[in-house]
């Protein structure tokens, strides 16, 4: 039993590190490291750098323009990105809709959409949730009626992440209510955000940021050719995507990065006072988080080992999202506590690299720690809430 990488894998790891050292832009690094949100342009610029390297789609097969990497390579890559605290590729294009299109879409759709996803020339957003349909997604009501050469779409999607930047939205819509199971009336539609009748209304999150939106569809005409796969099969396609989303959420390396930052920050005197770690209460909580994270790392490696030899991941994979978000939230709390009173100022203007240092309140990411703590309560809510995840484990793993 060991977790030693092969010589090729080690060489690959070195290649990723060298790439990050040379190509990860300084200004983006600075923003990331001080917890400043990236602009739309920052995100696209970084994704294009990965694209030029040929590393945009680490989860896609080669024939569709992906890297075709082995699970171990993907693991190494994502680990290095996390360890460098570099931005992750936005999930909506490459992680979510891309695989649906190359798996269930027709050739024309592949030609039309995949290249722009790879090159980040088109921004996608995810239109699943609705005001009345969150955990119970299959109850969704957004209606798409077939009328000649198009669908007429009416309804509201909500909590749509970064829809304000999006060129396209992929949606689950109801094409029929005359079915035995409500899931069978759901279809998968691709909708151009510029189509008349589509409107986006911002939703401000707890930390004062426009991260999510409501997207309204009022008599929106969507060409029939924008249907993915078969009518009434959207639910099965969408479900594949959800599973995909779940296994991508452990974010072990990023939590490790944050843990190290926490230990560094709390281990030294920040404003001339004694280090937080001098308090055994605090040191104990940090150790507990570290232990939980170590367990998670090995759980993830077990999953990886199974997948690497072509086996289906065992029940341990289904706990990755729950535990992954739990560790993230433990770290959020500890970073907040470490910042002490400097967690409290709310000065959005200073979360900009140009803001004069002399005017700043607190050091670096301190005053962002509270906002991160507030915002990241979402981690246990979205992508299938942790309660829903546990229901899934109870049903499919425990057979209850």
């Amino acid at each position: 039993m060991d977790i030693i990488f092969s010589a090729e894998e080690l060489a690959f790891q070195q290649e990723v590190r060298t790439f990050l050292k040379e190509k990860y832009p300084d200004d983006i690094r600075k923003k990331q490291d001080s917890g400043i949100s990236l602009s739309r342009d920052d995100m696209i610029r970084w994704q294009k750098i990965l694209y030029e390297q040929g590393w945009a789609a680490v989860n896609w097969p080669v024939e569709n323009g992906g890297t075709g990497w082995s699970p171990i390579q993907r693991y190494i890559f994502e680990n290095e990105i996390g360890a460098a605290n570099a931005p992750e590729f936005l999930p909506f294009g490459v992680k979510m809709i891309g695989p649906i299109i190359y798996t269930f879409g027709n050739d024309e759709q592949k030609r039309r959409f995949l290249p722009d996803i790879l090159s980040s020339d088109v921004w996608w957003c995810q239109g699943y949730s609705e005001p009345g349909s969150g955990s119970d997604l299959a109850s969704l009501k957004t209606k798409a009626e077939r009328q000649g050469d198009h669908y007429l779409v009416n309804g509201t999607k909500t909590w749509t992440t970064l829809a304000q930047y999006a060129d396209w939205i992929f949606c689950l819509v109801r094409t029929s209510s005359d079915v035995a199971r409500r899931q069978e009336g759901i279809s998968f539609l691709l909708i151009d955000m510029q189509t008349p009748g589509v409107s986006v209304k911002p939703i401000i999150t707890i930390d004062g940021v426009q991260e999510i939106n409501e997207v309204h569809f009022e008599n929106v005409e969507v060409p029939l050719e924008n249907l993915v796969g078969e009518e009434g099969k959207g639910w099965t396609y969408g479900k594949v995507l959800l599973e995909h989303e779940r296994t991508n959420m452990a974010t072990v390396a990023r939590s490790e990065y944050r843990l190290n930052r926490l230990k560094e920050q709390a281990g030294q005197s920040v404003h001339g006072g004694p280090p937080c770690m001098d308090d055994p209460n605090f040191a104990r909580k940090v150790a507990a988080a570290e232990i939980e994270l170590k367990a998670l790392e090995y759980t993830q490696l077990r999953t990886l080992a199974a997948v690497a030899v072509g086996k289906a991941p065992g029940p341990e994979s289904s706990i990755l999202k729950i535990k992954g978000t739990l560790v993230q939230q433990m770290l959020d709390e500890l970073l907040l506590e470490a910042a002490g009173y400097y967690a409290l100022p709310y000065v959005p203007d200073q979360y900009d690299l140009e803001f004069p240092n002399s005017e700043r309140i607190g050091h670096g990411a301190e005053t962002r720690s509270s906002l991160k703590y507030f915002n990241n309560r979402k981690a246990s809510i979205y992508g299938g809430s942790n309660e829903i995840q546990k229901n899934v484990v109870a049903k499919h793993v425990l057979g209850l």
Partner: protein
């Protein structure tokens, strides 16, 4: 044994509760919070007219002679209403110092105006290096003839942007974390040499970081005895800690109630989400946390009313409970609201943020657990 309130106490609690229900709805609160000052000067006058600003002060000073029970009742309601007016800063903190340490002329100069609602004030209880340790004071006050020269840095001065009064604890002798050698100064907010960086805090309250550069104050500005300010400072911070705990209890209870209500109305899978046992048990847990915390609050109020030797220890117990069991209540409320819980639009998010600020104010759970052990 008697946990019931006196008639006057009930009337006080009821009058604030009515005000919150009728005049301080969430939308109104948000409007006030987003206004320039971050609170309503107009409502502050109303609070004064209703006598609320007088409650904690002795009758001889023009107050109503209220004690911990009255303060608790008020703060619970302020928590429920997410009140942003600077009651904690002006009345409990600055007023608390003046009531305990000011001379008759100083009370005439400052405290009367505070009670009347015409003077705003702040107590600079923290320095950057001190974390939660109030005796850690590097700000110096050097005697110079019949004046003092103040130099130093204060952070998170609540209501520190006010135009009237800053109470500055500074060191006249001793080394940085000594309890002796701390002197309290009443400094006019517009004194030369005071630089303020003012900001809103995450809970929509307001604070300032203050730099004092050769600020000259008269000897007449000393509150109490030179070098003996710590006892006052500690008593005031204890009372303020108790006050924010009561506020937090009001917040916890409100978050819990709103969550239970939400779970009865939010339908998923064809049924209200409150019918899922996974959520029911968690709401029972938050109910238990609310009840246990309320019990500690009453215990603390009683010990502090009686000046019991364990009064301070009780405050630490309560603050620890707020930072642990209370935090769980707040987090569960957000979680059970789903995505709604992390939106700016919903009050739950704002209760969550105020609660989090209170967790840190005057020392978090770790700090008070240590203090509890020290006092045991």
């Amino acid at each position: 044994m008697n946990f019931s309130l006196s008639e006057e106490q009930s009337m006080l609690a009821d009058s604030i509760a009515r005000f919150i229900d009728n005049d301080y709805g969430f939308e109104k609160r948000q409007e006030i919070a987003e206004s320039e000052k971050g609170y309503s000067p107009e409502l502050w006058r109303t609070y004064a007219e209703l006598g609320w600003t007088a409650v904690p002060f002795a009758e001889d000073d023009g107050g109503l002679g209220g004690g911990p029970i009255e303060l608790m009742l008020m703060m619970e309601q302020f928590g429920r209403g997410l009140v942003v007016e600077p009651f904690l800063a002006t009345i409990v903190l600055a007023g608390g110092v003046l009531q305990r340490a000011a001379s008759a002329p100083q009370k005439e100069q400052w405290l009367s105006g505070i009670i009347e609602g015409s003077i705003q004030a702040a107590l600079a209880f923290s320095e950057p290096q001190g974390r939660f340790e109030i005796s850690d004071i590097a700000t110096s006050a050097k005697a110079n003839g019949d004046k003092y020269i103040l130099n130093g840095h204060k952070n998170l001065v609540l209501n520190g942007a006010n135009d009237d009064l800053l109470i500055i604890p500074a060191r006249t002798s001793g080394s940085q974390s000594d309890q002796s050698g701390i002197t309290l100064f009443a400094v006019a907010a517009d004194s030369a040499g005071i630089e303020r960086k003012c900001y809103a805090t995450v809970d929509a309250h307001h604070a300032a970081d203050i730099t004092l550069k050769d600020v000259q104050v008269d000897a007449a500005a000393v509150l109490g005895e030179v070098g003996q300010g710590f006892a006052t400072l500690q008593a005031v911070i204890d009372e303020a800690t108790f006050a924010v705990c009561a506020e937090a209890v009001g917040i916890m209870r409100t978050m819990h109630d709103k969550t239970v209500e939400y779970s009865k109305n939010r339908v998923q899978f064809g049924v209200p989400i409150g019918t899922f046992q996974a959520l029911q048990h968690r709401m029972v847990d938050t109910l238990m946390a609310c009840e246990q915390t309320y019990s500690l609050l009453l215990w603390t109020a009683m010990l502090n009313t009686a000046n019991d030797p364990d009064a301070r220890k009780a405050i630490s117990a309560l603050k620890y409970q707020i930072g642990t069991a209370g935090r769980k209540v707040a987090q569960e409320a957000v979680q059970i609201h789903g995505a709604m819980g992390v939106t700016w639009e919903l009050d739950i998010a704002h209760y969550f943020k105020r609660f989090t600020a209170i967790e840190l104010l005057f020392g978090n759970a770790d700090f008070h657990l240590n203090r509890y052990i020290e006092l045991s």
